[in-house]
Each structure stands twice: as structure tokens, then as C-alpha cells.
Amino acid sequence: MIDEKKLIQELKHPKSKEKAFRVLISVYKERLYWHIRKIVISHDDADDVLQNTFIKVFKNIENFKEESKLYSWMYRIATNESITFINKRAKQKNISLEEMQTKMIDNLESDSYFEGDHAQIQLQKAISRLPQKQQLVFNMKYFDDLKYQEIADILETSVGALKASYHHAVKKIEEFLRTN
């Protein structure tokens, strides 16, 4: 268990910043990695985005106003970085976001860092067809088992809106899995 307040103070102090940052990385690297990986799908892309996320955290920790929890601030940065990454990729390839996501899932089957079975690929396909916000909510609730309030803090939205998003998401996914 880490003392979040103390860690933030150490991160903001030049003398203790580096040591505290190492603690921060060791605590959050895996959680953030898997959050990012589920959005960008490939390991190499997740690695790039994760590093950028931590660099952003390091550069901006002085501006962190502590109005939210540290983890929700970091998840927010990771989410923004991941979405920006996919949007940029789609723009570079001159394709729509939907086409980009279909391409990402198609590549998953030949990815050496994917060992899922047919059912898991089908689930990823079903997720990729959802609107972006529903994808985020579904991933955080279904795979990461985060609470609605925690997701609401990360995405800066209301619990009511999230519940509705999750409901639409599971409905569409169940239907996709039933018919495909």
C-alpha cells in the first residue's frame, strides 16, 4: 500500500522526484500497460504509448492539482495518449477510425504476443465495433473490474451515463457473439 499524498509530494520535489518516480512506475506499469494494450491492441504500440504516458506524467506532475486521485489522473493521460495514437495512425494511413480498428483486430490473429483462442478473437472483434466510449467502459468494467465510480473519475463523466454505456456495450457484444 502506498501513501499517495506522500508520493505526490516526493514527485513534486526535485530532490526526491527520481526515486519517487521509480516507485510510481513499479506500482502502475502493469495496470497502465494492460489498459493501453486493450485500446491499441499491439504490444509494440502499447509499449510506445506507455512510455509516452509516463514521460507526460513526469513532465506534468508539478501541474497535478490533486483534485482527483493520482491513478485516475494517470489513467486519463494513458487513455488520451492511446486514443490520440490510434487517431494519428488512422490519419497517416488515410483511413477511418473504424477501418483502423478492424485492421488492428485482423493483425491480432498473426500477432506473436497474442495467444487467445477463436472466442477471444471474436470478443475483440465485437469490442472493436463499439463506439469508442463504450469500448473504454466495457474494457475497464469487464476485464479490469473497475467500479463505476472509478471509471467515472477517469473518464470525467457520471456513473449514470457509464451504466447506460455499459448496458449498450454488453447488449451489442452478446448479440455479436450469438450471431457470429
Partner: protein, 186 residues
């Protein structure tokens, strides 16, 4: 008492009981209860058909080497210069010469830029692009109104000061293609 009435009576009494017992629920708990329950049922069905695992994995020892990789890419702090000027009079002399040189270069560059900015230096392409892109909202009526508004200022013969020879005009009218005209109409 009918069966339905009995049932309703039971429900009303139960509601009163719950509201008096001191317990409370989160805001809108019962409003979203049906949707929450349905979400849970659908979630269980997804779990049965698929898995709660993504099937994604990471290279061996990836997380062990991550910390160092991040530190390598962190912005390096600029080290403060430790150069000391031993002879301050030489420093000021050098600084004033450098400042004068910069000033002269700046004046010459600015003057050159000013000289090079005139109507002749604008290429036809640039003019065409400007007319096409920047005057899109200006129709014939707007242009006519603009001319009328500035007639006194511009001088009455301003549009006809350039004389075109009959030969040039004939050549132009013979060369122009109908399709070009249609294109320009469209």
C-alpha cells in the same frame, strides 16, 4: 377483497416499511436497477461464450526492463554553463561587435524583404490562387458595388488604362476554347 387488491395492499405496506427502517440506497439505485441487472446477465453470457482474459501477452521480462527504458527517454535537465569570463572588458568589446553585426544583418535583410515585396514580384499562379480562394464570397454585384464605392478614389478610367491592341484581342478570341468557357462558367 379481490386478489389484485390484496397484492397491491401488500406492496404498499412493504414500501412503507422499507422507507421507515432508516436504511437508504445510493441515488437513483432503483431507477437503474433493471438495466444494471440486465447488464450483469448479459455480462455472464459473454463470459460463458468467451473469457475474461484478453489472450494478449507480453515479451519475457518486458516489465523488468521497462523502468530503465522510460528513464532513458526522460527529458534531460539542462546543465548550467560553468564558463567564466576572465577578462570582462574583452567580453563587452566582443558583445558590442556581435550586437552591431546582428543589427546590420537584420537591417539589410528587412530592407531586402521590403524591396522584394511589390506587385510585380507576385506570380500569376499566386494571384490566381488568391482570387480563387480568397475572393470566393465576392460576386459580380459585390465587385461592381466595390468599384462604385471607390470610383472617386480610384479614378474613372482605372479599368481602361491598359489599352489592348485589336490584333491581341482577335488572337485571344480565336484561341479560346468553348470548353474552357464552360469550365469557367461551372
Amino acid at each position: 377483497m379481490k386478489k389484485d387488491d390484496k397484492h397491491n395492499d401488500f406492496l404498499n405496506r412493504e414500501k412503507d416499511l422499507y422507507q421507515k427502517n432508516g436504511f437508504s440506497t445510493p441515488d437513483a439505485y432503483f431507477e437503474s436497477f433493471e438495466d444494471d441487472l440486465m447488464s450483469k446477465i448479459l455480462e455472464e453470457e459473454i463470459k460463458e461464450k468467451s473469457s475474461t482474459k484478453t489472450g494478449m501477452k507480453v515479451p519475457d521480462l518486458y516489465f523488468d526492463s521497462l523502468e530503465e527504458k522510460i528513464f532513458e527517454n526522460l527529458p534531460k535537465e539542462e546543465k548550467k554553463s560553468k564558463i567564466r569570463f576572465l577578462n570582462t572588458s574583452n567580453f563587452y568589446r566582443f558583445a558590442s561587435v556581435a550586437a552591431a553585426a546582428i543589427l546590420i544583418i537584420w537591417i539589410m535583410t528587412t530592407k531586402k524583404e521590403q524591396n522584394s515585396l511589390n506587385f510585380d514580384s507576385i506570380s500569376n499562379n499566386e494571384l490566381n490562387n488568391w482570387v480563387t480562394n480568397e475572393t470566393g464570397d465576392l460576386g459580380t454585384y459585390e465587385l461592381a458595388a466595390l468599384y462604385e464605392d471607390n470610383e472617386d478614389l480610384l479614378g474613372q478610367d482605372i479599368l481602361f488604362t491598359n489599352t489592348i491592341s485589336d490584333e491581341d484581342l482577335e488572337l485571344y478570341l480565336n484561341d479560346i476554347e468553348i470548353e474552357d468557357l464552360l469550365d469557367s462558367e461551372n
